[in-house]
C-alpha cells in the first residue's frame, strides 16, 4: 500500500551510496532536491586507489544544494570485506569458479550495504539512494532482480527505504551537463578509469568479465549466481549488524522501529515524493 505524494519523512535526512561518478552524483543531486540534508557515503574497502577523486563532485553538489546540506563521509570497511568478500573464499571459488571475477563487486557492494545500514540506523536516516541504472545491469549488483529483492528483503528489514532515482536514466552525462554539475563532458566514456572516482584493480577485470562474458553468452548464470551469492552472504551481514548493536542502547529492534515509523508512509517511487 503506497501513499501518493507523501512528504519527505521526519528528520528529512537521506544518505547516498556515493562513489563520486556521474550516476551517484546525479542521484545525490536529485535526492538533495527533496531531502533537507544528504550524507554521501563513500566506502574504502582497503584495496582501491585514488579514493580522493570521489571528492571532486562534492564541491559542485554543495554549490548547487547548499554547503550545509551536503556532507561526505569516507568510511573504511576492510573488516567487513574480510568477512563477507574474503571470509569464505575457498568455498566461493569451488561454488562459483571463474564467475567469482564478477561476483567480487557484489561482495564488495554487500559489505557497503552492511556499513550503510549501520550508519543509517545510528544516525536516524530512514532513506537511502544509489546511482544504480538499468543500462549497467550487466554487473550483478545492478541487476534489476537483485536491486528489487534487496530493497524488500534487506533494506526494509532494517526500516530503511531504498530508492534508485535514476534507474531508468540512459545518459547521466548529458543530464549532469544540463544542470551544470559535470566537471567535464563525457565522463562516462572514460570506461573503467574515471577521473572522479576511485580506481579498483579488481573492478577492471570484473567489468570486462561482466560486460562481455557473463551476460547472454552464459545464459542465466549471472542471475542464478547473483541470487545464490547474496543469499549466502545475508547471514554474515546480519551477524555483523547484530554484533555491532549488541551492547548498545537503544537496541537494534528499537532503532528499526523508529525508522520504520517515519519511512513507512513513503511511496514506492522516488518521483512520487514531494519536495522538502
Amino acid at each position: 500500500m503506497t501513499t501518493q505524494n507523501a512528504s519527505f519523512p521526519l528528520g528529512k535526512k537521506a544518505s547516498i551510496l556515493y562513489s563520486g561518478g556521474t550516476d551517484s552524483a546525479l542521484a545525490a543531486y536529485l535526492v538533495g532536491q527533496k531531502a533537507e540534508e544528504i550524507t554521501l557515503l563513500t566506502f574504502d574497502p582497503g584495496f582501491i586507489f585514488f579514493i580522493e577523486n570521489s571528492k571532486k563532485h562534492v564541491d559542485l553538489l554543495r554549490h548547487h544544494l547548499g554547503a550545509d546540506r551536503v556532507k561526505q563521509e569516507i568510511i573504511p570497511i576492510k573488516p567487513f570485506i574480510d568477512r563477507i568478500l574474503f571470509g569464505e573464499r575457498m568455498h566461493d571459488f569451488k561454488k562459483y569458479g571463474f564467475n567469482l571475477t564478477a561476483l567480487v563487486c557484489l561482495g564488495c557492494r554487500l559489505s557497503m550495504h552492511t556499513m550503510a545500514i549501520i550508519y543509517n540506523l545510528e544516525h536516524g536516516i530512514p532513506v537511502i539512494a544509489d546511482g544504480s541504472i538499468q543500462k549497467q545491469s550487466t554487473v550483478p549488483e545492478q541487476l534489476d532482480s537483485f536491486v528489487r529483492r534487496n530493497r524488500r528483503t534487506l533494506w526494509w528489514k532494517y526500516g530503511i527505504r531504498h530508492f534508485s532515482p535514476i534507474y531508468e536514466e540512459d545518459n547521466s552525462d548529458l543530464e549532469m551537463d544540463k544542470i551544470r554539475l559535470s566537471l567535464k563532458p563525457n565522463l562516462k566514456k572514460q570506461f573503467i578509469l574515471f577521473d572522479t572516482q576511485a580506481t579498483c584493480p579488481f573492478g577492471v577485470p570484473a567489468d570486462v568479465y561482466a560486460r562481455i562474458f557473463y551476460g547472454e553468452l552464459s545464459g542465466p548464470a549471472r542471475e542464478v549466481d547473483t541470487f545464490e551469492y547474496s543469499e549466502q552472504k545475508r547471514p554474515l551481514m546480519e551477524a555483523i549488524i547484530n554484533e555491532h548493536f549488541a551492547d548498545k542502547t537503544p537496541g537494534l529492534d528499537e532503532l528499526i522501529d523508529q525508522l520504520k515509523t517515519v519511512a513507512s508512509p513513503l511511496p514506492a517511487k522516488w518521483e512520487d515524493i514531494d519536495h522538502a
Binding site: 586507489f49 585514488f50 569458479g97 571463474f98 564467475n99 571475477t101 532482480s145 529483492r149 524488500r152 528483503t153 573503467i192 578509469l193 580506481t199 584493480p201 577492471v204 577485470p205 570484473a206 567489468d207 570486462v208 568479465y209 562481455i212 562474458f213 557473463y214 553468452l217 552464459s218 545464459g219 542465466p220 548464470a221 542471475e223 542464478v224 541470487f227 545464490e228
Partner: protein
C-alpha cells in the same frame, strides 16, 4: 601525471586478465548449463511467490 600512469598501468594489466578469465568462465558456464537452467526456473518461482506474499501483507 603519476596518477594517470598508475591508472593506465592497472588497466593494461587487468583488462587482459579479465579477457582470459572470461573465456575460461564462458567454458565453465557452458558445462554447467543444465544446472543453471534448472536453478533459474526454481529461483524465478521463488521470487514470484515472495512478491505475491509481500503484496498480500
Amino acid at each position: 601525471m603519476l596518477k594517470l600512469i598508475g591508472r593506465y598501468l592497472i588497466a593494461a594489466i587487468m583488462i587482459p586478465v579479465g579477457v582470459v578469465v572470461g573465456v575460461a568462465g564462458w567454458i565453465q558456464n557452458k558445462l554447467r548449463q543444465d544446472y543453471y537452467q534448472r536453478r533459474f526456473k526454481e529461483i524465478k518461482d521463488q521470487i514470484k511467490q515472495e512478491e505475491e506474499q509481500a503484496k498480500q501483507s
